[in-house]
């Protein structure tokens, strides 16, 4: 994901983002991203942080894009507060708001629900669903497989840096009890071939 965003230089290979070969600084304008724990300038308010990020790229699609993004993630009431006073979950929401600023066609999210409370996760899920239904491609990476199962249409399983399997949830889970069981089976971590000592 960092390579797609131009944060890390690939040692080999090629990649395309929205149909354009990388690196493509102009292509980032239509990509929203939240990579791991989002970080902001703690001495600025949530709204001010978004204003700064808005100035860092091309002009926003609408004059009220910041307010819309804040509203989408439910941060409008606390947008004037300094980020240093935000909880982890609020920072995650602000990170999502930042990634939505430019009305992206592609959203890259890495562990986006870290630190969010259950109500926040539920809201987050509905925001992602609405974005996907509206035509935005949401690319999400997570270790929370129950979450992935609830949110995603298609799933790719990576193990030791390699793509093990990819497909719709129903195709992957098949006869397994759920995505977690399917994942453990696909990666060989389900204990069937393992040599871990049996609990006493």
């Amino acid at each position: 994901m960092r390579m797609l965003l131009g944060l890390v230089r690939p040692s080999a290979g090629r990649a395309w983002l929205n149909g354009r070969p990388l690196p493509d600084p102009d292509g980032l304008a239509r990509v929203g991203a939240m990579i791991e724990e989002p970080a902001f300038y703690p001495w600025l308010s949530g709204r001010r942080n978004l204003e700064v990020l808005a100035l860092c790229g091309p002009p926003l699609p609408g004059g009220d894009a910041i307010e819309v993004a804040l509203d989408q993630v439910g941060l409008t009431p606390v947008a004037g507060r300094k980020v240093k006073a935000y909880s982890q979950g609020m920072r995650q929401r602000l990170g999502l708001a930042a990634s939505l600023l430019r009305d992206p066609t592609l959203l890259l999210l890495d562990e986006p629900t870290n630190g969010m409370d259950p109500a926040g996760i539920r809201e987050f899920r509905s925001v992602l669903r609405a974005l996907a239904d509206g035509g935005t491609t949401v690319f999400l990476s997570s270790h929370l497989l129950a979450e992935v199962e609830q949110v995603c249409d298609r799933v790719a399983v990576l193990h030791a840096g390699r793509l093990v399997e990819e497909g719709r949830i129903a195709e992957l889970t098949g006869e397994h009890a759920g995505l977690e069981a399917a994942f453990l089976h696909l990666t060989g971590d389900d204990g069937e071939v393992g040599d871990a000592p049996a609990p006493r």
Partner: protein, 285 residues
Amino acid sequence: MRLLRAELRKLNRPLLWGVTAAAALFCVLLAVGGSSNARQEARGGRAEAEVAAAHTAAQLDPLAAGAEAAGLMASLPGALALALLAGGHVGGEWSQRTLKNLLTQHGRRWQVLAAKLASLWLAGVGLVAACWAALAVAGPILVRVDHLPDPRQSLAEAARWAGSQVGRSLLVLAVFAMVGLLAAVLTRGTIGAMATTAGAFVTMLVVATVPSNGKWTPATWVQGWMGFPVGLRSITDLPSNFWSRFIYAGGSPPSHLLGLTGLVAMLAACGLVAVLAFQRGDVAG
């Protein structure tokens, strides 16, 4: 310009206001000491001391105080202030892990660096303005309180003196900002950037103390370009800078032109290294 506006908004932070207040206070305290010393020296009635006291009064003229402010900010105090700002403003992007946000919004890294440099330089110019304003307020009060003699300095002379030094300090501040930027790119952190930048300036001065280095050190280029006098004046005088005091006084300083050439070359070389290092660096964390 949008990137620069973003950088300036980020600079509006407690660190900048603290450094600005400290720099202004430093200038005023220096003026208080210099003015007081000039009064005590002049009490003896010696002609030399009278001339020195008049010179101090001229330095504290509200308009000419621009030269004093520029001299101080284009020397060690300004260098250290910009080291602090470079650490917080540039190195902090790595320490606080905000760089990834910035680069995912704007993928052209050299432009990000250019905006950082321009904002740091503007902060340096702001420091000169703040120190000038503080001295312009404090100077006439000190001259009156310490009964310093009339320097018989015309408005035009004062304006020329201040304009020349402030104008020259713009290039030196750009070099200081570039050194801070390079240090931040290489060390990728707040503390590392601050320490490395401050260390670089101290090293410049140490290298310039070696007599054989003469005209070929960054410190002597600054001295030549700014026209800082060679050698130590009395420790009790109000200093026009904190730079030439540390440089070997035996040789002749480089000319304005050599100073200008050296500083421009240094600016270009540091900028090139910073851009190359930043373009090649991965952003982790």
